[in-house]
């Protein structure tokens, strides 16, 4: 298996639920050995995409290949090669963890000896030793999520699809599960969906951001920061006696400034957020402009736009620019 092999190919994927378009022409690819973070606000279409990839539902339009196989022609073969953890890890509550893993093994056609070996392996990997003989209904959210992960990894699948693997966990559990996913990602191709950016930065090599059923970005976190990112300057001025209205126009004339917005500030202060290019630094120009006009500068901070802000700018289109 070459490391460049395409594991998942999605082309023009569209899914309508009646009049609602959950997915609208989404395309992306995942290569072997990659960890892809699938990012979007709630209701963006992440779960729908995952349900299509695992052949639970069929798309309205589009072509989907998983492990080189078509979702229409080989759904069973795809499921053999995929491990899936649906949102909230829906496992049978009346079964013991050991029973559930054995049940999954039988369904996956593993022999008794293989099931034992595989179960022991995933129990170790997922840290389930202390709850193996516990009923799933009695498990904490963290252990349930780990049991779901164990179930998905049981047959050592080439592809792992994890829908919000850390939702509802406490901060310690989140760190644990992320570490686990990072480890799994060394040997498997992983797609994980999330609405937490930190998750992607901690685990994923590449990010696909979708919003309202459309893909809005695709790349490594670093690439996205270079393409989409810029620099933000927070400028705080003492409120001048008059001429306050011309301030944004003055800043906009500076070379390298793209936009200026007025924010809320204290009574006698004015706060502006100035957006500029990532490569340039216009702090000196802002300072000079302020001095020329005789205003008083109280604060000036430059910061690089990070993934979090890129995500916000891409997904809060309707809320108006910057005002949120």
């Amino acid at each position: 298996m070459s490391s460049n092999e395409l594991m998942i190919e999605v082309k023009d994927l569209t899914k309508s639920y009646g009049p609602i378009r959950a997915l609208d022409g989404v395309s992306f690819e995942v290569r072997a050995g990659e960890v892809l973070g699938f990012l979007g606000p709630n209701g963006a279409g992440k779960t729908t995409t995952m349900k299509i990839l695992t052949c639970f539902i069929a798309p309205t339009e589009g072509q989907v290949l998983v492990g080189g196989m078509d979702i229409y022609k080989d759904p069973l073969e795809i499921r053999r090669n995929v491990g899936y953890l649906p949102e909230n890890a829906p496992l049978y509550p009346d079964m013991l963890v050991s029973e559930y893993l054995d049940f999954a093994g039988v369904i996956r056609g593993m022999s008794g000896a293989d099931r034992k070996v595989a179960a022991d392996r995933v129990i170790g990997q997922c840290g389930l030793d202390e709850v193996v003989y516990q009923e799933i209904r009695t498990l904490s959210k963290g252990f349930r999520q780990r049991a779901g992960l164990a179930q998905a990894m049981l047959h050592n699948p080439r592809i792992l699809i994890l829908d919000e693997p850390t939702s509802g966990l406490d901060p310690n559990q989140i760190v644990e599960i992320r570490g686990l996913i990072k480890n799994i990602g060394k040997e498997h191709t992983v797609i994980l969906s999330t609405h937490h950016l930190a998750e992607v930065q901690a685990t994923a090599g590449r990010v696909v951001i979708i919003n309202k059923g459309k893909r809005v970005a695709d790349g490594t976190p670093r690439e996205l920061e270079q393409q989409r990112g810029g620099a933000l300057y927070e400028v705080v001025l003492r409120k001048p006696a008059d001429g306050a209205d011309e301030i944004p126009a003055v800043f906009e004339q500076i070379d390298g400034v793209e936009a200026v917005e007025k924010m809320e500030g204290a009574d006698d202060e004015l706060v502006f957020v100035v957006t500029g290019h990532a490569e340039t630094d216009v702090r000196s120009d802002i300072f000079r402009a302020v001095v020329d006009k005789g205003w008083v500068l109280l604060g000036l901070v430059r910061k690089q736009v990070d993934l979090e802000e890129i995500f916000r700018s891409l997904t809060v289109v309707d809320a108006g620019k910057g005002v949120e």
């Binding site: 052949c55 069929a58 073969e77 909230n88």
Partner: protein, 236 residues
Amino acid sequence: MGAMLAIWRREFRSYFNSPVAYFVITVFLALVGIMFFIPFFAQDRVSMRSFFSLVPFLFVFFAPAITMRLIAEERRSGTLELLITMPVRDVDVILGKYAAALSLLVVALLLTLPYAITISFFGPLDWGPVWGGYLGLLFMGAAFVAIGLMTSSWTENQIVAFMVALFISMMFLMVDRFIVFLPNSLAPWGEYLSFTSHFSNAARGMIDSRDVIFFLSFVLLCLFLAFRSLESRRWR
């Protein structure tokens, strides 16, 4: 096939992992016992006839009670998604669950055999109609379980699944009694669709292949509809 057997085993064991199976079977046996033996001692004949006219009415409640959970609950809790995204065919899911519910019904039926054995001590019991009746009950039970599985596949709500199954089962059991109210042209259909009329031969000890074919095709139709309903998730 392996997947179907795994689902069968899981479902059957899950009945006994919760109080459902114990409760439902106990109530069933108690009701049969009371309703069968009280009149039995009032008559001076050793016969299971009243048993065989009684059990179908209890089945109408018993079968939906054990089937209502099968698919509805999995839909509601989301476990269906995990099950179906394993390498199983929808048909394995339907057949495995059907087999599990039918097995529980058979267990309940077998547990009534001591009643027959008990009354055989009171006098000579003609075992022909008894075996025929049991076989007939098995077929009718199979049809009720299929109805229950079908309605369970239609909804996420167990109570709805139960009520609808109860209603459909009751209709098919009693339709021959409504024949007088039906237009003449529909009367033969009412007669043909009635479970009771197909059961009556068996309860007299005669197994007619037409009755067997009726119940089997009824079961297949219900399972097919359940299959379609499970499959329809893909296109909605």
